[in-house]
Structure formats: C-alpha cells, structure tokens
Amino acid sequence: MMNWLDIGTIDDIPQRGARCVKTPQGKIGIFRTHDDRIYAIDDHCPHKGGPLTQGIVHGAAVTCPLHNWVFSLETGKALGADEGTVRTIPVRVTDGRISIALGEMLLAAE
C-alpha cells in the first residue's frame, strides 16, 4: 500500500537543483531536472555517505559533491566506472504539488 506524503510544490526546488526531506529514516533528496522532471532518491551516497542533494544536477543524473560519483536519478544506479546503487523513492506530481510514497518504508519500520 502506497502512503503518499505531500512535501511541497515543484517551485520549491530550483531547476537543475535539489532539496532534502527529513524523515525518521534519514534524508531523502528530491531532484528537479532542467526539464522539470522530479525524482526522489536517498540523500546518501553508497560510497562514503556524501549528501547527494548538494551535488550538481545534470540531465537525469547527479554528481556527488564528495568524490564525484555520478548516479542516475531514474534508476539510482551509479553511472560510469563506479558500482553502487541508491534507493529510489516513488514520487508523483499533481497540479505542481509533489508527493512521495513513504508508506511501505514506515510500515516496515514499525
């Protein structure tokens, strides 16, 4: 079961930028691409824990600010020579408002 949580509007995030959402299970990064696609992934690089929301967003990818690993926002997979995956979180945009699905994760936490 999906439990959608409204987190704000698309205009809260700069184009080619990101914001983070704090949850009891850690930070989630919400990304907005140059063409207004919205993605959500864990704000935590699997390499050394860098905050991915602080990276440079290019296309549907982000470069980690600590050691320049690049992750696909669509799949959460590291691109290029590096190997690793960040969890992706379901996200939907309705009339400019963004929701993310926290249900499963929090149910599991109980």
């Binding site: 602080q54 440079i56 600010p65």
Partner: protein
C-alpha cells in the same frame, strides 16, 4: 662564393619556396627578403578565422623571427621595393636600401580590385588582403554598427561572416544573381545564400553600387536603383589583380601577370616570379595549392635541378566559415554532352551534384555534406570510368563495394596516391610513410614534416584518421583535450568562441557549440559558468546550479556533510574584538573544532548547514566578511610584519598585503589564487611558493608568480621589480586579469604560465604599459559586480532554499 638571392615579397609562395630551397641546397645562397608588410611570413588563408576571433595572429605565423635568424636570412620588414635595376643587378627599397643580386625572385602578390565609384577613397572603405585590413576591420567592428561588404565571393562572404561574429550588422552586395557564381551552380548558390542569411547576414544579389556616400567618412552605399544602405564600414572584396607594376617598370614581359615559363623564370633568365603576381601558361592563380606548386618549381630551378616543373591542376574551393560546408571543383556548366547526378535533401540542407562526361567525373558541387569531396576529386583526377557504380555514386564512397559507413574505413579504403591535403598537394601514402619513417606521433609533427593540414586546416580530420590507422591505439586524436565528454572542444576553443560569438548564457554556449548533452555535466558546467562570469561580468547572471557546492553555499563541505567557515582576516591581522566574536560564535553554535589555517586565518569546522546563515549573521555583526576559503578565486594574502615591527623589514609588507586583499577580494579566477607579501628577502611570509608573491627590497617591490606548494612544489618566477606600491598593485592586478582571461578552469597559475610562456607574460604585463593598463581596467570593471559579500547576501535571505529542508516527515504523521 655564395650567390646572392634577393626576394621581393614575403607571402606564402616565397616562404614555401625558401623551405624547399633550404632543404635542397642549404648554404648555396645568401638570402635577403624585402617585405612591404612590417612583419614575418604568416598564413594569409587564416585571416578569416582571425577576423571572426577563432584564431589569433600569433597562431597563424608560418615563420617566426627565429626562423630567419636560424637560416641567416636578412629580412627587411616594412620595406617596399621601388626599383629594379637589371643592368646593375640591384633592387632598391623605399627606405633607400639597395641590395645586389645574382638571382631575383619577384613575389609581389596581388592587389585588391577597387571598383571605380565615387567615394571609394573615403575613410572607412577597406579591402580584405592582409593583417592590416583585418586590424582595421576589428577596430571598426567595435562600434557594432552597420557594415556593407561589396562582393559575394569567397573573400567577401568570409569577411561578412567574421564581421557578423564581431557583432556588426552586415549586408553583402553581390552584382550577380547568385553567390560565388564562379565556384557554385545556382542551386548551391541559393543554399549558400540561405545559410548566410540564417546567420543574420543580409544578402542583396543583382546589386550594383553607384557610389559610396559620406562626408569625411563613410556613411552609406548607394545602389544604381537609388536605394541607400547606411554603413560606417565598407569592405570591398570584388576580386584581386596581379601586382605587376614593379616588373613592368623593370621591362620584364607582363600580360595579366608576370609571364614565366614552367620553371617560373621570367623573360630575364636571372629573375623568377612566384605567387599571385605570376602568369604561367596563360593562367594566373589565387588559391594556395597552385602557388605552392610554383614554389616547388622555383626552388628546384634555383637549386640547379630542372626536373620539377609547374603543371596546372584544378583546385577545390572551400569556404572557411564555421558551420557552412561547401566544396566545388572542376567544370559544372551544363552542356549537350554532359550528364549530371543530383541528390537533394531539403530538410537537412544538403545538395550534391556530380557532372559527368563520357562516364567520367569532370566537376563536383557539394553543399551541406562535403565528406566525399576528396573521393570525387580523386575519381575526377584519375578519370575513372564510373559506369559500374553509377547508381550509388552520389551517395559517396561509403556506399561503394560494401565498404561500411565507418569514416575510418572510408579513409582506409583510399588509395595511397589519394590527395588528402589540397593546399599542399600531400597524398595519403606520403603521410603514412613519413609517420612510419620518422616515428611521428602528434598532429603537429605530421604537419611539420609533411605540411598536410598545415595551411587552411580543413583536412585535419582526415589527417587524424590516417594517423589513427597508421599508429593504432597509440595515437590519441584528441591533440586538443576536450573539456569533457559533452563536447569535442577544448577549454581554449570554448573560451575563444564564447568571446567571438558573444555567447552569454550556458544554454547559448551549449546550443551554439553543439554540446552533445542536454545540460552538460559536473565538469563542464562549473567551467562554463566561470568563463561567462569572467568574460561578461556586467551581463552574465551567475548560475548557482552550475557551481560546486562549496561555492554555492559559500562554505567548505566536510566528509560528514557539515561545513567549515573561514572569515576574512585582512593580511592575517586580527584583534581582540574579532577573536572575541569568533569565540562567541563557537560557543553559541557548539562548533566542535577551531583551527588556525595555513593562510593566516581561523577555520571553524563541523557547522550544520542549517546553522550557516545564523553563524554568518553573528560574524557579520562583528565586521567579518566571507574569506572565500572555498572559492576558485582570491583566497588569502599572507604577510609578515614588515617595517611596522621587524628590524629587517624594508617596506610596509602588512599594509601592502591588506591593500591587495581589499582591492582583489571577491574576484573569481580559473583556480584558487593564494598570495603573500614578505617584507624582506628573508621571506617570512613564504611568498616564493605562492601563485603571486611580493618580496620587498630597499629599492622597491619584486613581484613573483607561478609558484606551487601542493602536489607539485615549485619556486616562483620573477615577473619584475617596481619602485612603488601603486605600481606593484597595478602589475599584480594586470597579471591576475590576464590569467583570468586565458586560464583554463581549474588550471593553477603556474600551469597556465608554463603553457603561455613566462616571457610572453612578462612582455604583456611589464613590457607593455597599454596592455597592462587595459588588463587592470578590465579587472576593476569586473570587481564592481564581484565585490558583494556573499554571507551578508544570504543572511538577508538570498537562496533560502539552500539552507532548509523542503519538508520534515514527522513520526506521528508518518505513522498514520
């Protein structure tokens, strides 16, 4: 005894002749050159890229001053020869220098044809032949006003494109119904006109100039219809005429040009003629390939060999306007005995036409897609019977005989005698064998040894493919390292094109320079952002999403995602008030670590991102501004205590350091810039390993630069010694601005200096007061927009979103 060889003219033909002669008969002649232009031999074909800003004069020099010295050649620059005395066997220059000769070579080139209309002599009417014309056009283009180019041929269109790139509003007037009618058929001429107009250049065909208007300077052009086109610059590019006045006065046989035989010998057996002034077998030439053939024949004759003679051959025409591809060769007029094959692709703007006579190619016109030009030309030269491949001929080489469309395979399939470089007549086999024999590995080497792609450069891609085929993986064709995988262009090319095309946003750069990705990557975006900030300080809006996190939030990210904050301490000097404020901030925000940095200031580490604006607010109240410890920009100016306290101090080093820091803070540079000022040669501020350093001495200030104390360790180089603080500041600022304008992103000053050359930097900053002042003024202008404290801006609310989470999913909400 050595014979005396005198050459009148120093263009590309005699330059090439000398190269051949010095190779075939070194030391045989004592050589003297008279050049009416006040400079060395440069690549005249490349004037258009200089005009458009894609190249600079230094890059198109063929023979630098050192070459003449090395070969013992006397070069009289700016000496126009006014008389030849064939009985006394002497020539005399306008400055009164007389030299005797055993052999004389006349290479006076051509003069632009000026249409004889009223107003042709007004200031602001230029021709397009040499560097002086280009310089004059560049000055005129600064007005960004209106220009008229008379002549829609090769030169006229290149001039128009260059002036447009420089920001002028350009109209081309052409007397014929279609552009370049001598090289293109009407269909290709039409496509060319569309491509030229798409660049914002207006084209008027069938336009006859009645007169050039103006009172004391050019104001416009009047057509024979009575219409007036306003302009402050008129460029006449309607054609050239062989420059034969000197030869005629000397009594040599002249016709349209100076008449020679196929050894380039004139009617006087001791006088030769090469270049555009020469008429051989009834023809005069204007393209470089036949001129180089003349050079070979003349060199052979002068070295005593008679087996190399001039033979006529057709030369392909190419236009050197970035983004417009056209190629034409041979005869393309219609005729009863002729057939043609045509391919058109309107949406892609492609037109290809091959003209056949008895199943053999006699002419080719290509527009939009010219990759097969060399192949068609090869078939034409060899008079190959094409009936077998007639159905697919027009699709090009890749479609013949099962050869794949791989461009490398197409080059591999070329015969050894296929001509690669049209300008220099170099075939594939010569390039391959020279690479193998001499062990060449770089494009520069191949150019130096074979001349292939060394003139107009349009065959560079082909030459590189041949190198790849010959050398295999050991050749990396990226002689220019691309900025990143989003582009083929290197940093220098991008910087030059940003200026030349006046690109002022990142999307504009990516569109115009054909970026391969939709919005770049983490490598190119910060670089482009810097180039635009540096080049258009007043117009470009800094793109924070293209800045690395440290520069975006004005603090240094640490391994755990917290930040460190370093306020500026001017010259490393602080006070009890400042220290107390820092202590209060540390307590208030429970900052875990406080550390003294190597740059004489204090670092507070482990600050949560959300706290940054509040930390800055408190620091700001105590008078602190950002120390830019995170920036590719001015970091610190370390100082020692100088004459204020030190018994050895020679100058007020602390005061100078503070003055420099207050003048230069906030400026962005290609990489970080650390400075220091030491009060005496004991050098307590360690100025001699800094990016820029000053060592104070009794007689003034010794300015140092290009040191390094990181992965590389390197002592500084001396820029120069100046007497006063003011002069020191001006030189340091000018040096910094030169580096800001030329450096590649992330290239420290010592690497930049190694690339540019220390002498060149000294020449521009210390040796040329005008240049120094211009650099200084541009830096000062840019500082008007840069000296804003980023911390204060953020305390007052800028980029609020950066420092707050978007939302907080609380437990009870989530538990529903």
């Amino acid at each position: 005894m050595t014979e005396k060889l005198v050459i009148v003219g120093n263009g590309m033909a005699p330059g090439r002749m000398l190269e051949h002669l010095l190779e075939a008969a070194p030391g045989r002649y004592q050589i003297t050159i008279f050049n009416a232009e006040p400079r060395v031999n440069y690549d005249r074909i490349m004037l258009s890229p200089v005009l458009s800003g894609e190249k600079e004069y230094e890059e198109i020099v063929i023979h630098g001053d050192g070459w003449y010295i090395k070969h013992g050649i006397t070069l009289y620059k700016g000496h126009k020869v006014v008389a030849i005395d064939r009985h006394a066997r002497t020539v005399t220059s306008g400055h009164g220098v007389t030299e005797s000769y055993d052999k004389l070579v006349i290479a006076t080139g051509s003069v632009p044809f000026i249409i004889p209309v009223p107003g042709k002599d007004l200031p602001g009417v230029l021709s397009y032949r040499d560097l002086d014309d280009v310089s004059a056009m560049l000055v005129a283009a600064q007005s960004r006003d209106r220009a008229v180019v008379i002549g829609g041929g090769l030169l006229g269109l290149e001039a128009a494109a260059g002036l447009k790139e420089r920001g002028m509003d350009v109209t081309v007037l052409h007397v014929m119904p279609t552009l370049m009618e001598r090289q293109l058929d009407p269909a290709a001429g039409y496509l060319l006109q569309k491509a030229v107009e798409a660049r914002g250049i207006k084209v008027r065909t069938k336009a006859n100039t009645r007169q050039i208007l103006g009172d004391g300077k050019v104001e416009g052009v009047e057509l024979d219809t009575g219409e007036i086109i306003p302009a402050t610059l008129v460029v006449m590019a309607v054609g050239i005429r062989p420059n034969i006045g000197l030869a005629r006065e000397a009594g040599l046989e002249v016709n349209r040009g100076i008449v020679t035989d196929d050894r380039m010998v004139t009617s006087d057996p001791d006088i030769l003629s090469v270049g555009e002034c020469t008429e051989v077998d009834g023809r005069v030439y204007g393209l470089v390939a036949p001129l180089y053939e003349m050079a070979k024949a003349a060199a052979a004759h002068l070295s005593g060999s008679e087996n190399r003679r001039f033979i006529h051959s057709d030369t392909p025409t190419k236009l050197k306007v970035t983004g417009i591809d056209l190629y034409s060769i041979g005869d393309f007029a219609d005729g009863e005995d002729r057939e043609e094959i045509i391919l058109r692709d309107a949406s892609a703007g492609i037109y290809k036409r091959v003209i056949l006579q008895e199943n053999r190619i006699i002419g080719t016109v290509l527009f939009g897609e010219t990759g097969d030009g060399a192949w068609f030309n090869e078939l034409k030269k060899k008079a190959t019977d094409i009936s077998e491949m007639r159905d697919t001929l027009i699709f090009g080489q890749a479609f013949q005989g099962g050869v794949s469309a791989d461009p490398l395979a197409a080059v591999a399939a070329l015969a050894d005698d296929a001509e690669i470089c049209g300008c220099n007549g170099v075939c594939k086999g010569t390039i391959v064998s020279t690479i193998n024999q001499k062990g060449l590995t770089t494009l520069e080497d191949v150019r130096a040894h074979t001349k292939a792609s060394a003139s107009c450069g349009t065959c560079t891609g082909l030459v590189e493919k041949i190198m790849t085929l010959t050398l295999g993986d050991s050749y990396n064709p990226a002689a220019i390292q691309p900025m990143c995988s989003c582009t083929e262009l290197g940093h220098d090319e991008v910087r030059r094109l940003v200026k030349a095309k006046a690109l002022k946003t990142i999307p504009a750069v990516m569109q115009e320079l054909e970026w391969k990705t939709s919005c770049g990557c983490a490598k190119c975006r910060p670089a482009l952002n810097y180039y635009l900030v540096a080049d258009w300080p007043d117009e470009y809006a800094d793109d924070y999403q293209s800045r690395f996190i440290n520069e975006r939030v004005h603090a240094n990210i640490q391994k755990d995602g917290t930040y460190s904050v370093v306020p500026r301490m001017w010259g490393g000097v602080t006070s009890s008030k400042e220290l107390r404020a820092i202590a209060d901030v540390v307590d208030k925000f429970a900052i875990p670590t406080v550390k003294v940095t190597g740059g004489q200031r204090i670092d507070m580490l482990g600050i949560r991102k959300e706290d940054l604006p509040a930390v800055w607010a408190d620091l700001g109240e105590a008078g602190f501004v950002s120390g830019h410890a995170y920036a590719k920009g001015l970091r610190t100016v370390k100082t020692c205590v100088g004459t204020d306290w030190c018994r050895f101090g020679t100058q007020d080093s602390t005061g100078l350091g503070i003055r420099i820091e207050k003048f230069m803070w906030g400026s962005w540079t290609p990489a970080k810039l650390k400075m220091a000022v030491s009060g005496c040669p004991r050098n307590c501020a360690e100025a001699t390993c800094k990016d820029i350093g000053v060592i104070c001495v009794d007689s003034g200030f010794e300015i140092h630069f290009a040191g390094a104390a990181g992965v590389d360790i390197k002592g500084t180089e001396v820029l120069g010694l100046v007497r006063t603080e003011d002069e020191a500041l001006e030189a340091i600022v000018a040096l910094t601005q030169m580096y800001r304008e030329q450096g590649r992103y992330l290239e420290r000053i010592y690497k930049w200096a190694r690339r540019i050359g220390l002498d060149e930097i000294r020449r521009q900053v210390m040796g040329d007061p005008d240049k120094r002042k211009a650099y200084y003024d541009r830096f000062v202008f840019s500082q008007k927009f840069a000296q804003v404290d980023p911390w204060a801006e953020r305390v007052s609310g800028k980029d609020k979103h950066e420092f707050r989470p978007m939302a907080i999913a609380a437990m009870q909400e989530a538990a529903e």
